[in-house]
Amino acid sequence: MASREYQGQTVEVDAEGFLEDSSQWTRDIARGIAEEVGIGELNEKHWQVIEFCRKDAEAKGDAPGLRRISKLSGVNMKELYKLFPKGPGKLAARVSGLKKPHSCI
């Protein structure tokens, strides 16, 4: 298990950089991961997606797939690809401090 430091906080991550323990997540960590993966500064829409993902994962026990995010978060598919251009399927979950989603839709 590897560990990484984001804004002075050390967290455990898996081989692909997903947080091992989602309860360690903070907004500062999200900002740190966003910078690391090339998203840059998080805007209001990013936070809207992150908040939905965390709430949904808490309720369902699994990080939501992209179609689910686009249908329920209020941020549509096109916008999701603009917000997370290097792959919203993985990056939305990673920035939200969740495990890699199982859904491929």
């Binding site: 686009s70 399927g89 839709i105």
Partner: protein, 182 residues
Amino acid sequence: MSTQTMTEEMAAENAVEVAIPTAEEESRPEPIRKIAIICSKGTLDMAYPGLILANAARMTGIEATLFFTFWGLDIVTEKTIDKLHVPTVGNPSMHIPTMLGGLPGMESIASIMMKKEMDHLDIPPVRELIEILSDSGAEIYGCRMAMDMFKRTQEDLVPQVDEVISAMDFYDKAAGAQILFI
């Protein structure tokens, strides 16, 4: 200090400066950056694999290009996109006798059952999947020769098809991609 020790020391210094990759880094395979999928079949069970693979690629940041040719054109044709069927004859995975598979209505029943199962798994209908792919930035092309053969024009296709192109054009669009034929 012997010459040999000096050389060793210099080599050690160099190693630090040049940052020689570790064995693990060297053996790590190059990630896939682009995929081009040729969809040549128009049955429901052959439509989904290409579309889902393309969508999964986009979700993880891989570029995706789709080329619909021959029967695959039905997947992006307005009149057929919502009516793709599961074949019940000549399909050993159906696990029913071929004679039964040929009875009237069998294909409809099999198709309805598959669509129900897909819906249960939250897999979108083909039309929605094509919309998702278009929104994701995947490139969607129809095959010129197949279009001529089936006497279709671009107006017959769903609006998400970017262009009707030749097979040679497809290779230009697929430059640098791994190609999948379905």
